[in-house]
């Protein structure tokens, strides 16, 4: 099953929302958090999404619509 790795950053207003749980329910993807740092005002997670590639892309779009910043695990690679 294809899987892609992402770095997700939560703005302060989204810290308390169960966004990863919601994404796992709304899309056919398996979410697997591998590293995270969540504080009172900000937070990030390194997460693996597994599933059909097109479904992963829909899930990423869904994450963005929920107001979180989604980047590849490498962050910015355009130099």
């Amino acid at each position: 099953m294809p899987s892609l790795r992402f770095h997700i950053r939560f703005p302060e207003s989204k810290i308390k929302e169960p966004i990863i749980y919601q994404i796992g329910h709304e899309y056919k993807v398996v979410t697997n958090v591998r590293r995270a740092d969540v504080r009172e005002t900000t937070g990030w997670m390194d997460v693996e999404l597994s599933g059909d590639t097109a479904e992963i892309e829909r899930a990423v779009e869904g994450l963005r619509k929920k107001g979180v910043l989604v980047d590849p695990i490498e962050l910015n690679v355009v130099e």
């Binding site: 892609l4 790795r5 950053r9 591998r34 590293r35 740092d37 900000t42 990030w44 390194d46 693996e48 990423v60 910043l69 980047d71 590849p72 695990i73 490498e74 962050l75 910015n76 690679v77 355009v78 130099e79």
Partner: protein, 416 residues
């Protein structure tokens, strides 16, 4: 025993074989090269380095390749300029400019990292190299790939300026314009790197590629007569350059090639894209991503991969960070050109602008031996200064007109 021991996760310390991988399977942290310093120490010496080629490859013992260099043989060993005029202007006793505006072959420090990346890519059996870039990196990868006879793909956003596209096309790589913005190119390249067996220099080859930046630290120490400076000022985009300069200085100390390193490593960014310098100023150990808006496009990385590590390196070295406005960037470019005759691209303007600020604040003191890194050539970003350099003096094609314009008497004497 091989000089490269392993790739090691910068977060959890898990080790991996020295292949084309860049992310820890366990915690998704970035990987970097771990060396067998005990083995390297047996053979490395100042004398051996001084007898080496007049390029960055004189430090091959501390670069992540197994055999001899095969790509980018002339990169590095650029001039270390004693900047007496600029030093006098700023009020410093001893200022040097590490001048990578004349790096071979594409006039930026990227020739160092790409030389390492492509040499290593060949060793790992790759025939195709790739990168995602809007400027210096694309130029360098395309040029080196052409010279090495390797297939090359350069990914750019669909809205990139024509002049920048041309600078890549001349080397005849496959230039792929992605219909979308910067973020779209970013995401796509990460996915392509995961799917195709290509050497993406700043993705799956990144642990090796980034090590090339250490040669700036090595050359600095050697060209100063085997002493480490008191202060360095480094432009920051991904933050990798700053972290590797710090790593390089520490390697020289660990190997006994320099007796002490008390260098403060200072970082420079532009106001319009300063996630790392802003975090430093706010006393944070993490940075907040930004949408870049600055003329310093070669530093415009809003979510920098090594931002966290750059903050750490600056803290370890007791260095500082600061940022300058676009106007100050242009002033910095002009000041450098008009005092030292070096035309730098916008990143150089950022470095000089921040150097000026740090001196003014007293962070860099008059007696500090200081090195500023000038990482790219001004001919690449002429549009940044086009409205700030004035116009030529226009005269009629006659001696009278010339002498009247410049108020000259006979024999070129100044008139009254």
């Amino acid at each position: 025993m091989a000089k490269m021991k392993a790739l090691v996760c910068r977060e959890c310390g898990k080790e991996y074989p020295t292949k084309a991988i860049h992310v820890c399977d366990m915690c998704f942290g970035p990987l970097e090269v771990k060396y067998n310093y005990d083995e390297i120490k047996k053979t490395i010496s100042r004398r051996k380095i001084e007898d080496g080629p007049l390029s960055m490859w004189r430090y091959i013992d501390l670069l992540p390749v197994e055999g001899a260099a095969t790509v980018g043989l002339h990169a590095g060993f650029t001039p270390m300029v004693r900047a007496r005029n600029l030093a006098a202007y700023l009020g410093l006793d001893e200022l040097y400019l590490k001048n990578d505006t004349v790096n071979h072959p594409t006039l930026s420090f990227k020739d160092r990292v790409v030389a390492v990346a492509l040499t290593r890519a060949r060793e790992l059996g790759f025939e195709t190299v790739a990168c995602a870039s809007t400027g210096n990196l694309a130029n360098s990868v395309a040029a080196h790939a052409a010279a090495a006879g390797m297939q090359c793909y350069v990914f750019i956003p669909g809205d990139l300026e024509a002049a920048k596209v041309l600078g890549n096309l001349i080397y005849r790589p496959n230039v792929v314009e992605v219909e979308g913005n910067y973020d779209d190119v970013n995401r796509l390249c990460s996915e392509i790197a995961a799917e195709h067996r290509w050497a993406f220099v700043n993705i799956n080859i990144r642990p090796y590629y980034a090590e090339g930046s250490k040669t700036l630290a090595f050359e600095t120490v050697e060209q100063l007569g085997w002493r480490a400076p008191d202060q360095v000022v480094v432009p920051m985009a991904s933050g990798s350059l700053l972290t590797k300069i710090w790593k390089g200085l520490n390697e020289l100390r660990a190997l006994g090639l320099v007796s002490e390193v008390r260098t403060r490593v200072n970082g420079a960014q532009a106001d319009g894209c300063s996630p790392i310098a802003t975090a430093y100023k706010e006393g944070l150990d993490f940075f907040k991503p930004v949408k870049p808006k600055t003329i310093a496009k070669s530093l415009a990385i809003g979510n920098p991969a090594d931002g966290y590590y750059a903050l750490k390196a600056a803290a370890e070295s007791r260095g500082a960070m600061d940022m300058v406005s676009d106007d100050e960037v242009v002033e910095g470019i002009k000041l450098l050109a008009q005092t030292e005759g070096i035309f730098a691209e916008t990143a150089g303007g950022v470095t000089i602008g921040v150097l000026r600020k740090l001196v003014k604040q007293g962070t860099i003191k008059k007696s500090d031996v200081t090195v500023a890194y000038i990482t790219g050539n001004g001919l690449k970003t002429q549009e940044a200064v086009i409205d700030a350099v004035g116009r030529p003096v226009r005269i009629q094609p006659s001696l009278v007109s010339f002498e009247r314009t410049f108020k000259m008497g006979k024999n070129g004497e100044a008139g009254t």
